[in-house]
């Protein structure tokens, strides 16, 4: 007796079709899973057997059961095949109709008592199902809204018994509630930041142009505060971007069941003690790292010089081409990682530099090593560098600052402008740029960066052309030589 169920394995973000074939034959009773299944996947034997018994279904005791996961060349990792394996075994033992099962994809982990647990990547698995022409997917209720984003109909089932009853036509599970798109958590607001006009302006430019921003300065001047307020002035994701980001967050298991579609530009702020794998991705699975979770959004590296050098080096590739490739025995997993980098740092290791109330106690060697590490790592990737000085008491006591909302409106308008009619440099602006390249320490790459920031400044000013004043402003945010080694 042979029965089949279809599901998908994930290679990176990509769903690969997996056929689960259950074969029951006479012989010495036993249960084997073949087809390059890893340990977690092998353990499905126990969960499936226990789940079937708990659901008061019949375990075919007198049969030799072989489950083949095809294609054999593809490594099967994790517990997401449990539900498909259980259903294939049940179809092979004629407890559920095989032809009904063939109309469904399935994804989910089984608990020992037969409950169905959500697994990461349900969105991508559902996308795979749809590409095969399947319109129905059996999954845990927590995964239902996520799976439906792929354009299939989810059949939410809490328990293996429920899945069986449904397939037998004895039960119609409650439809998925449409996700609530209104309740979004509040983001921190720019109104909280006193003074720091220059840094705020740079933040607005970064938001409008998607530029990488470095905030440097003494402690307690609001650098971290400002960095955390970037998401609040970014526009919502375009529909195609939202799906892209959702796919990544699904694979990482980060989607909120009640609000699976990621509408806001993601914001990730990994701690500087994070491993390189945590930041660029890897591990079993492999899983996307923080850089990919920040795709189409913001990656904040707070205290940049504290990150390990190899971690910073590993970020150069995605900063260059927006992709992270993770080599695995089973092939290469590709994760998109087109993020906007925001970083903060002090001006020297003792943090005394730039602070009128303190004095730098760093030895020249220590300072040189600090700058060297920094400049070799990522310094040349920042489009905007702002030194945030310590404000005087009067500034902190000044009236309330502009809130995020009006800034967000300007940013959105500038983005439309940049997309639809990007302003071009006037002759005078061009001359200024050329003069600046001659006089300032500015590389070819630096020049291109200034040109881009100038275009953003023009778009924010609703100007049809990039004038010299926009180039002049952009030049003010170039990497200062005091940060370079």
């Amino acid at each position: 007796m042979l029965a089949r169920a279809v599901t998908h394995a994930l290679v990176g973000l990509e769903p690969r079709r997996v056929e689960v074939e259950a074969h029951l034959e006479r012989g010495i009773p036993g249960f084997a899973i073949v087809g390059l299944a890893d340990r977690a996947c092998q353990e499905a034997k126990h969960r499936v057997r226990s789940g079937i018994s708990s659901a008061l279904l019949e375990w075919p005791l007198d049969r030799r059961i072989t489950v083949n996961l095809a294609p054999a060349g593809l490594r099967k990792e994790g517990s997401s095949f449990d539900l498909s394996i259980a259903l294939a075994v049940l179809a092979a033992s004629r407890q559920v109709p095989a032809e009904r099962l063939a109309e469904h994809a399935a994804v989910g982990e089984l608990a020992l008592d037969g409950r169905i647990r959500p697994v990461r990547g349900a969105f991508a698995v559902a996308e795979g199902a749809r590409s095969l022409g399947l319109e129905l997917i059996l999954c845990a209720p927590e995964s239902a809204a996520e799976a439906e984003l792929a354009g299939v109909q989810a059949v939410p089932v809490r328990h293996l018994g429920e899945a069986v009853a449904y397939l037998r036509g004895e039960l119609q599970p409650a439809p998925v509630e449409s996700p609530d798109e209104t309740v979004e958590p509040e983001l921190p607001d720019l109104a909280d930041v006193r003074g720091q006009e220059r840094a705020r302006r740079a933040l607005e430019l970064a938001a409008a142009g998607g530029h990488n921003l470095l905030l440097a300065g003494p402690p307690g001047t609001g650098k971290t505060m400002l960095g955390r307020r970037l998401p609040g002035i970014l526009p919502l994701l375009a529909p195609a971007e939202a799906l892209e980001v959702t796919r990544i967050h699904s694979v990482a298991g980060l989607l909120a069941p009640e609000r699976p579609l990621v509408l806001r530009a993601p914001f990730r702020a990994p701690h500087h003690s994070s491993s390189t794998a945590a930041i660029v991705g890897g591990g079993p699975g492999p899983r996307p790292g923080e850089a990919s979770l920040a795709h189409r959004g913001v990656l904040l590296l707070d205290e940049l010089p504290e990150f390990q050098r190899p971690t910073l080096e590993a970020l150069r590739q995605p900063l260059e081409d927006g992709m992270i490739a993770i080599a695995r025995a089973s092939g290469q997993a590709l994760f998109p990682a087109r993020f906007q980098l925001v970083a903060t740092m002090n001006l020297c290791p003792c943090a005394g530099r730039g602070d009128p109330a303190a004095e730098c106690s760093c030895s020249p060697q220590r300072l040189a090593a600090f700058r060297d590490k920094l400049s070799r790592a990522l310094l040349d990737r920042f489009d905007l560098v702002v030194t945030v000085p310590r404000p005087r008491a009067a500034e902190l006591a000044a009236g309330p600052s502009e809130a995020s909302q009006p800034v967000r409106v300007r940013v959105a308008a500038a983005r439309v402008r940049l997309r639809e009619a990007a302003p071009l440099r006037t002759k005078a602006a061009d001359e200024l740029l050329t003069r600046a390249v001659e006089r300032l320490p500015l590389s070819g790459r630096g020049r291109a960066r200034v040109a881009r920031v100038a275009r953003t400044a023009a778009a924010l000013a609703e100007s049809d052309a990039v004038e010299s004043e926009h180039v002049a402003e952009a030049l003010a945010y170039r990497s200062p030589k005091e940060l370079a080694a």
């Binding site: 720091q196 006009e197 300072l367 500034e395 300032l440 402003e473 200062p480």
Partner: protein, 328 residues
């Protein structure tokens, strides 16, 4: 006459410092097989020249020190006669303070504007600022290196080196290809001091390279100026000690120009917009952050950033660690 180029090439090949022909078999062999004409051609192909000590246009002041180099390798578009013009050395700490930077830049600019050639070592800090100041004034400047003239050391000064080579000269007693080494720098300093009738020490710690330059200048009977520094700053210990020992205080370029019998160039009038002029006026009162300048002048952060670039390009202000200072 070509003996000097052979000597310099031999020193490079043996990684030694030589000012006179050694009496060794090794050198004799080297010299015998040395093809000076071919070496000159090789240098010329890279745009370099070699000015031998015995050459008539070798700078007299440098030739007069007690251990003049066998010759100078020269890079840049300037004529070698530049080496014999009235020159002043501006030297000081690499890790200088913002004050030191500001003073070096200003002295470089004003002395060059008045017609002096500004000589320094192209190091970070004071040296680099002095060269930049001279370039800003459209004046002449000479960088003396402690390595080959093709080395662009430190690497961060590569663009600066290019500018200096375009407007003035980069020279070294070491052949192209010689790598920088700490022991070569004091020797380099004797050339900096040797080319100049006066040396100005801007900021120097005790026992620093700049003090060595000053000592060498004093030994050769040249004038030494020191810029007074804060008595609480270790960065000024050396320069203030020089003052105590009798160096001439340098309280501005006029002090130096006077000893050359020159008068300051007319402060060249910057053509600035109204906004820039207002910002500059405020900066001249005292150093301030961009935000403070914005409040003082009513300019928005974006406009102000543009104005500050304008002032920086005009050489009127220096922005460092978020603080804007007047430099003129």
């Amino acid at each position: 006459m070509s003996g000097e180029l052979a000597l310099a090439s031999f020193a490079a090949a043996t990684e030694s410092h030589l000012i006179a022909e050694p009496r060794s078999v090794r050198f004799a062999r080297f010299k015998a097989s040395f093809d000076a004409a071919a070496e000159h051609r090789r240098l010329a192909a890279r745009g370099y020249r070699f000015l031998a000590r015995s050459d008539g246009s070798f700078p007299t002041l440098l030739g007069a020190i007690h251990d003049p180099p066998p010759g100078l390798f020269v890079r840049g578009t300037g004529a070698t006669e530049l080496l014999s013009k009235d020159a002043v050395a501006v030297v000081g700490a690499r890790a200088c303070s913002p004050y030191g930077r500001q003073v070096a830049r200003r002295l470089g600019r004003e002395l060059a504007a008045a017609g002096l050639v500004v000589v320094s070592g192209m190091a970070r800090g004071v040296d680099g600022e002095a060269h930049r100041g001279a370039l800003e004034a459209g004046g002449l400047t000479i960088a003396v290196l402690g390595c080959g003239i093709d080395r662009d050391y430190p690497a961060a000064h590569r663009p600066l080196a290019r500018e200096i080579a375009e407007a003035g000269l980069i020279v070294s007693e070491y052949a192209p290809g010689v790598e920088p080494a700490p022991w070569r720098f004091p020797a380099r300093n004797r050339i900096v001091a040797g080319l100049c009738a006066a040396t100005i020490v801007v900021e120097a710690r005790e026992r620093s390279g700049a003090l060595i330059t000053a000592d060498l200048a004093l030994e050769e009977g040249r004038e030494v100026f020191a810029v007074p520094g804060e008595i609480t700053s270790a960065l000024s210990d050396g320069s203030n000690a020089l003052l105590r020992l009798g160096a001439t205080p340098c309280t501005g370029s006029a002090d130096v120009l006077e000893s050359y019998g020159l008068s300051p160039a007319d402060e060249h009038v910057l053509e600035l917009g109204d906004q820039a002029a207002a910002v500059l006026e405020r900066v001249r009162e005292s150093a301030a952050s961009a935000d403070e300048l914005g409040r003082a002048t009513g300019l928005g952060a974006g406009e102000l950033a543009g104005v500050l670039t304008e002032l920086e390009l005009a050489g009127a202000v220096i922005v460092e660690e978020g603080i804007v200072r007047a430099s003129g």
